[in-house]
Subunit: 181 residues, 2 copies
Amino acid sequence: MTLSEKNFAFVMHCGEMGSRWGFNRTIGQMCGLLIITKDPMTANQIADALSISRGNVSMGIKELQSWQLIKVMHIPGDRKEYYAPAGDIWDMANRVFEERKKREVEPTLSLLRDNLLDEASNDDEIYAQKQMGEIHNLLETVTKWSSELQRLTPEQLNKLMKLGSGIGKVIDLKDKILKKM
Amino acid sequence: MTLSEKNFAFVMHCGEMGSRWGFNRTIGQMCGLLIITKDPMTANQIADALSISRGNVSMGIKELQSWQLIKVMHIPGDRKEYYAPAGDIWDMANRVFEERKKREVEPTLSLLRDNLLDEASNDDEIYAQKQMGEIHNLLETVTKWSSELQRLTPEQLNKLMKLGSGIGKVIDLKDKILKKM
DNA sequence: TACAAGTTTCAAAAATAAATGAAATCTATG
DNA sequence: CATAGATTTCATTTATTTTTGAAACTTGTA
């Protein structure tokens, strides 16, 4: 079972992008491969398709499971484990988003909070705290908004988009309405 | 000029997070250091503060400039170059966001577009194209929304947030209004 | 234009991350 | 409960990324 040229190109691209999205090349490839492959695949099929070792696939699977991006499936009478994406593209994107927030925003927020609780003891610390406060605000804002957006379905988002109206306009509209109340 | 313990911890943390944000440890540290330091710094001051080589600083500066995150300043009668953040926290975050979009979303979109233009030549390709189409839609949606959000000032965002209203509510509101029109 | 202060470059070294594959472990079934 | 098929682990190897530092380069000044 060999990948077509186009499909192979896509899988390799997922590899390149993999590290950007928080995992390594191989894991990116595995993820891409499972997404474009209709039927669930065994670990050996994955290893063959990507020309990587069986052990590497095993580690990749563990990692993808920790991101909740893939699920295990079984075929009656077959002892092998089959893997498939856990949900549709939208679900997967949400998981990646959520997980990254947990890994890269939350630790920073907690460090900043700690830092901001302490009394600054000199000019350098006063300035630094001011800046850290700004970062803290930014991250809180981004976090809150992203969870609001994640709550919406792709349909809701697309619907809005197709109305040809930017969020800026929506907000203006809301402002006007609130003033009237 | 030594960093206080708190400030040092922050700078090191920026290093850890650096790679997540698209650059390496040292560059993350440099960025953090310049952000919490009131006065512009010379390359040598940066090298000393972080205990890294002068050459490394030079490369880091180049990279941070390519992200438009720092600017060069001069002090009359002093031949050295001084570096400072190019803008406030919000500006910098926007730049990073923008740059990452360029580096990690746009190449993918263009690959997907190419792939989707071709006629699928068998079942595997048909399914793969369906999935790629989904990813394409998702990325387009995310891209559009993020540029809408970036257009807003932090004040606008905060104001809205403080009204205690989620974007979901805003959208509902908009829907109702549109129906009346 | 020669010099010195400052900056950049880049080949080589060091550090880090990822992949391999053989051995250990797990597990369904006769 | 022994075994064969399957999966996981992890020490070692391999590949990649980052850092160093000496040499080359740039530039303002005497």
